[in-house]
């Protein structure tokens, strides 16, 4: 359904927290209509900015620990991690230009 790597409760630390890259985690679920709509837009942003930001997906149904740890109460929720810390949170499905402007500091 998407080109993005799936991260899990088990490998979150290794793939997100310990990563040297700027990583955006898309918290999503199969039953969330807006998540399915924003997914392809995130794929586009990721492929157009492959050298600047990595975008991975975390299924909140299958990975409740991370969803709880990051206090997710609404999806899609997109959190940008740098050096293991959340540096930006974007909530809700938005058109591509709006997402690009929310993420401007990471795409420049």
């Amino acid at each position: 359904m998407s080109a993005a790597t799936e991260v899990t409760d088990a490998n979150f630390e290794e793939l997100v927290i310990n990563s040297k890259d700027t990583i955006m985690v898309d918290f999503w679920a199969e039953w969330c209509g807006p998540c399915r709509q924003v997914g392809p837009i995130l794929d586009q942003i990721a492929s157009e900015n492959a050298d600047k930001i990595k975008i991975v997906k975390l299924n909140v149904d299958d990975n409740p620990q991370m969803a709880m740890k990051y206090q997710i109460t609404s999806i899609p929720a997109m959190k940008v991690f740098r050096g293991g810390e959340v540096v930006k949170t974007v909530i809700g499905a938005k058109p591509k230009p709006a997402l690009e402007s929310d993420l401007a500091e990471f795409l420049a």
Partner: protein, 332 residues
């Protein structure tokens, strides 16, 4: 250039597309980038759409409508309209990606957008306990106490749906009776997890990082109180989405687009409006679909009145395969 561009992809937009496509108008639907399929994408079981005796999931119904429209040659674009020029014979539709499409007629079926409470902390806590979408966010309120504000069908549907997750759901309503249909009311009344808080307005939302409560004001006595909840679902109705046409189309005092009698004709020749954007009253999937039909037929009638050479310049329908599936289609 197109004969008709349909803006919106809810039941009104897709039904207009089905009719326009079957009339060989090769319609283009601008479906929106993140709201394609419209309001029903955020619902679960639809029990009152005729033809589905066992009910159907809202998103499934919209996918079927899209497929049905595409089957007859509709082209669907997942982008947003950023500018709309309706004056003159040739209408101009500008999209988020910069593309500009021209059309001889427009069906405007943009539906409505959720109404906000207008409270200072609403925006800040939106996504942190304040939600407009129970089907998206209910999951995160397992074993929590939450509140739904509103008294219509959508408020009852949300409250009932949320009992799957939450331990307790308060329904806050300004009056002492509901606007919701009898069936929805009874379902909510009989649910042991739902408690109604009557004659109360939500006048504040509290919480530093996540919602921890709401302030209530009694609409009769003016008394104030506080309720500890970790989520607030807002279902107080919706307003017609008309920002693209302000200053171009006539708008009623209630915010809907003015149409001529029972038709879909707006004040601008060649521009037709359908669905919730013209309907302050009924706002059902099936009334929107009916309204989309009216708009497609009105557009077809208008296009037939234009000089042939003008229409001939428009994108023609691609030959659609597999039409032999139902030989008696033309009789429908």
């Amino acid at each position: 250039m197109r004969q008709v561009i349909i803006i919106g992809s809810g039941p009104a937009g897709y039904t207009a597309a089905i009719y326009a496509a079957r009339a060989n108008l090769a319609p283009l639907v601008i479906a929106s980038s993140v709201e394609a399929g419209g309001e029903l994408m955020k619902t679960t079981e639809i029990e009152n759409y005729p033809g589905f005796a066992a009910g159907i999931q809202g998103p499934d119904l919209m996918l079927e409508m899209q497929k049905q429209a595409e089957r007859f040659g509709t082209e669907v674009v997942l982008d947003d309209v950023t500018d709309l020029q309706l004056d003159g014979q040739m209408k101009k539709v500008t999209l988020g990606n910069g593309d500009v499409h021209e059309a001889l007629s427009i069906v405007f079926a943009t539906g409505s957008a959720y109404r906000k409470l207008g409270l200072p902390d609403e925006e800040r806590l939106s996504g942190y306990g304040v939600s407009w979408c129970a089907t998206c966010d209910g999951f995160f309120f397992r074993k929590k106490t939450i509140a739904v504000v509103g008294g219509g069908d959508s408020a009852m549907e949300e409250a009932t749906f949320l009992t799957k997750f939450a331990d307790k759901v308060y329904v806050i309503h300004r009056k002492d009776e509901l606007r919701a249909s009898k069936a929805m009311q009874e379902r909510a009344f009989s649910d042991p997890k739902i408690e109604f808080v009557w004659n109360s307005a939500v006048t504040g939302i509290t919480g530093s990082e996540l919602v921890d409560g709401i302030d209530l004001t009694d609409t009769v006595t003016g008394a104030t109180s506080h309720l500890d909840v970790s989520g607030l679902f807002i279902a107080i109705g919706a307003d017609p989405r008309t920002h693209l046409v302000h200053g171009q189309l006539d708008i009623n005092p209630d915010g809907t687009v003015v149409v001529d009698g029972r038709s879909s004709r707006t004040n601008i020749t060649g521009v037709f409006a359908a669905g919730d954007v013209i309907d302050p009253t009924y706002r059902q999937a099936v009334t929107a679909a009916g309204s989309g039909t009216v708009a497609a037929l009105d557009a077809e009638h208008y296009l037939a009145s234009l000089p042939r050479e003008l229409v001939a310049g428009a994108v023609q329908p691609a030959r659609v395969e597999e039409v032999e599936e139902k030989p008696n289609e033309e009789a429908a």
